[in-house]
Structures are given as structure tokens and as C-alpha cells.
């Protein structure tokens, strides 16, 4: 079965500094990986995904993530954090097509960007 680990419950970063939100995964075969964001009192929104190809994927709001197969990681990054980036971030994994498989989420990491 696939699983996702987000080792940090909370990440604090100063505005303008680079940010990283960590994610590691466990899945048989090549994974499909996703990042979602949940702003306060709003539903989850898709940020970016890795399916195949270039290990560095770019998404919404200036975020990017790097797929590292040897480390089974898919960390979310942004070069310069904004206060408005403060939210709850979820990493998710899905097995490649082999029947219908659910999308499994990590427990989430709360990002706080301080002005």
C-alpha cells in the first residue's frame, strides 16, 4: 500500500526567505505525486504534480517541487516566501495505473510565514 510522510507538523519562515516543506513517500513502482494547499476556511486546492519526465515540476503561486527517486522524496519549495503563503500543505501519492487506486494524503504541514 502507498503512504506519505510529512515529518514536520509546522514550518516557520521569515517573509522573503526560501521555504521547504518536506515529503517522503512509499509506493511500489513509480509514483504519481501531488501537493495540495488548504488556506484558512477554504477547501483544498491543487498546487502541482509529478507524473513523469523532468524531476523539477513547477506549479501555482511560484511553488515548485523536486522528485528524488533515490531518496523517495518530493519536497515543496519556493524561493521567496510570502505572508499569504501561510496555510496547511498536503503531500499525496497514488500508484500508477493498475486498477483504480485512491489518492493517499500525508498528515499535512502548517506553514507560517512571518513578516
Amino acid at each position: 500500500a502507498q503512504s506519505v510522510a510529512q515529518p514536520e507538523d509546522q514550518v516557520n519562515v521569515a517573509e522573503g526567505n526560501p521555504l521547504t516543506v518536506k515529503c517522503t513517500y512509499s509506493v511500489s513502482g513509480n509514483p504519481y505525486l501531488f501537493w495540495y494547499v488548504q488556506y484558512p476556511n477554504r477547501g483544498l486546492q491543487f498546487l502541482l504534480k509529478y507524473i513523469t519526465g523532468d524531476n523539477l515540476v513547477k506549479g501555482s503561486y511560484g511553488f515548485e517541487a523536486e522528485f528524488n527517486k533515490s531518496q523517495t522524496s518530493f519536497h515543496l519549495k519556493k524561493p521567496s516566501a510570502l505572508v499569504s503563503d501561510s496555510a496547511l500543505y498536503f503531500c499525496a501519492v497514488r500508484r500508477p495505473l493498475s486498477g483504480n487506486t485512491p489518492l493517499v494524503f500525508g498528515k499535512g504541514t502548517r506553514l507560517s510565514v512571518i513578516a
Binding site: G43, L97, G108
Partner: protein, 115 residues
């Protein structure tokens, strides 16, 4: 509307009562998920519908929980004999990609409070 719609947005019930939560997915989306998010917690997978295939019920926490979906449209999640630990936000998401590569679109959730 163009998004995933969930109702009710808020539901307060007494312990032991049954509740029904509704999800209207985006038209044309074949995949539909239910997740549970307890206060301060991550997303807990409950059930997954994909087209006319048998649903993946592996995440349902007990036999008090059930869900139905009519074709590729509306889904209802039913919780019988509610308990206080059922209090959570219940999120519905839909997607349109059978190859497991597509992103999900989430509703705003139904907040359930069991007194």
C-alpha cells in the same frame, strides 16, 4: 456552479442520530472521493468511486459509515448512530482522469458536530 458542491455546510446532531451528507461533483468527473479531516489533523481517506467500478471502501472506519453514488453524479455519505468521535469536516473531491494522473477538485466540506 462549476465546482464541487457539498451540503449541508454545517450539521450539528445529537449522539445516536443518523446523518446524511451530500456531494455534487463537477459534471463529467468519473472519480469521486470522500475524506475526513478531524480538527488539526490530516486527511483520512474514506471511500473512492471510479465510474461504474466497485467502490474502494477500505477507508471506512466502521459499519456505521456507508456511501452511495448514482452513476457518475451525486454521492451521499451516511453515518448511522453518530458518535462524538465522528465530529469532523467531511470533504468530497472529484476528478476526471482514469489513469490516476489527474488532480482532484475539492468541495468546501461539511462540518459535522456530534453533541
Amino acid at each position: 456552479g462549476a465546482g464541487v458542491s457539498q451540503s449541508p455546510s454545517n450539521k450539528v446532531t445529537e449522539k445516536g442520530k443518523d446523518v446524511e451528507l451530500r456531494c455534487d461533483p463537477i459534471s463529467g468527473h468519473t472519480a469521486l472521493y470522500w475524506y475526513r479531516q478531524r480538527l488539526g489533523q490530516g486527511l483520512e481517506f474514506l471511500i473512492y468511486f471510479q465510474g461504474n467500478s466497485a467502490p474502494d471502501k477500505s477507508g471506512l472506519p466502521s459499519d456505521r459509515f456507508s456511501a452511495e453514488r448514482t452513476g457518475e453524479s451525486v454521492s451521499t455519505l451516511t453515518i448511522q448512530r453518530t458518535q462524538q468521535e465522528d465530529s469532523a469536516v467531511y470533504l468530497c473531491a472529484s476528478g476526471q482522469n482514469r489513469e490516476n494522473t489527474g488532480e482532484l477538485f475539492f468541495g468546501e466540506g461539511s462540518r459535522l458536530t456530534v453533541l
